[in-house]
Symmetry: C2
């Protein structure tokens, strides 16, 4: 679990996003047709389900200030400093996990000297483009050792995602042509940072406290949540709002499925 | 090799040490007898040759702003961020290598609830004390993985220093009672940062460029050194001074010995 308190005496929407401005990589409706038509001539890469989830994370600014999959300079900062500063003078942002896209030797050959690629969902429909690309070596042992502090067998993300992936990483500026949806009946719960800011303002929040969890809510969680609300009220906030944030995507194999957890959260 | 250029339009001694002030952990002469007498009642730890070299590094401020072997908060910062900030608000300093002192289970037991220990050189003479100590777990796999980005066998410092060392790390404030000397006929070359600053001022340096190397000086090095001097003169400096800095201590098994390299440097 992760427990965060964001607070401001003014509107919650006034809190600065990491890196200063909200990242939104979805192409404006007016440019969509043109961008899609352009992308037809680009070399194509088919994403895995997990790659597509990272496109989602990046596209709505959850990995702000990143504006695409990491190029090597960003990757090495994340790996060595657990932090990211994209341009000299920018504020330093926590970024302990590299957000990268792996490709294999064949894909690298197919891309050749192209500076752009089109990204296809696992079902082959066009999702996004990556421009001003950079391809660099995927040193898996170093990535694993520096991310986990261990190279012992049995780490699920290592064995299921990293080891089977390609020997190269491709970074660049991401432009999302088609918003990522999961069509699992839960998409209406998936608010973007921009939508959340609007919602917090609508609710008149003067503080937002977030509770992120991988499991059903239990009594200990409820105690923490209520206690935080009480402390915020005592501190002088008048309308603290809870953001209950269940983790989707890659969780443990024996975790309660997201759909069941959402149903439980709804009832709670 | 490492190649650094420090420059200032004013005296080189005006360049700020990492962290703001020069670290000097040698006890003042006037307090020495008292501190030595105090240390007699402390639990004793016998240092390895390499531990003693780290005491030397720490005592003269080469690892500024560190004032002793790392406590856990400093160790984790170094391991995870390759950087160090000792107190909130301090400047962030590069520190990619943990400077730690390992002890075994017996030593931990012997220290018990003592908050101070005395450090003995390999020949058993009293060298230093460590006060306000903190003992914490030495997770060797994590240390190796995060420092080298690899856990592959064959890394000399890993196999010769880390793996045979104890399962605990001890951090604290270091006070050096007896300046570290090697009695190898080369001690007069080993200037402290404080002595170097005095020397640069004496020479009237308006820029200092440092050349650190593990090998004898070869023609490529000489070219780099002369080229740097030329560029500094072109930039407007009038008296750039070279700091030629051969590495002692832990080097590769087949490296040319320090004594031979010093002889060569002297001739050059």
């Amino acid at each position: 679990i992760l427990f965060l308190v964001y607070s401001a005496m003014a509107k919650s929407s006034l809190i600065e996003p990491d890196g200063g401005s909200l990242v939104d990589l979805l192409v404006p409706e007016s440019e969509r047709a043109m961008k899609i038509s352009e992308a037809e001539s680009f070399p194509k890469l088919t994403l895995t389900k997990i790659d597509l989830e990272w496109v989602h994370v990046l596209s709505e600014g959850w990995a702000s200030p990143l504006k695409g999959f990491m190029r090597e300079a960003e990757y090495l900062q994340s790996l060595h400093f657990n932090s990211l500063r994209i341009n000299d003078g920018d504020p330093l942002v926590n970024m302990s996990l590299p957000i990268v896209l792996a490709i294999d030797d064949d894909a690298k050959l197919r891309i050749g000297s192209s500076t752009t690629v089109a990204l296809l969902a696992p079902d082959s429909h066009l999702v996004a483009t990556l421009t001003s690309i950079e391809i660099y070596k995927h040193n898996k042992e170093e990535r694993i050792a520096r991310t986990w502090g261990s190279t012992s067998p049995g780490l699920p993300y290592v064995e299921e995602v990293i080891l089977p992936s390609g020997n190269w990483l491709i970074g660049g500026d991401l432009l999302v042509l088609d918003p990522v949806e999961y069509n699992d009946g839960l998409d209406h719960y998936r608010l973007s940072p921009k939508q959340l800011r609007i919602e917090f303002d609508r609710l008149g929040a003067d503080a937002v406290f977030a509770f992120q969890l991988r499991n059903p809510v239990h009594n200990g969680h409820a105690l923490l949540i209520n206690d935080t609300r009480r402390k915020l009220l005592e501190t002088g906030y008048e309308n603290p709002i809870l953001l209950l944030h269940p983790l989707g995507g890659f969780t443990k194999a024996d975790d309660v499925p997201l759909r069941v957890r959402m149903e439980q959260h709804r009832k709670v």
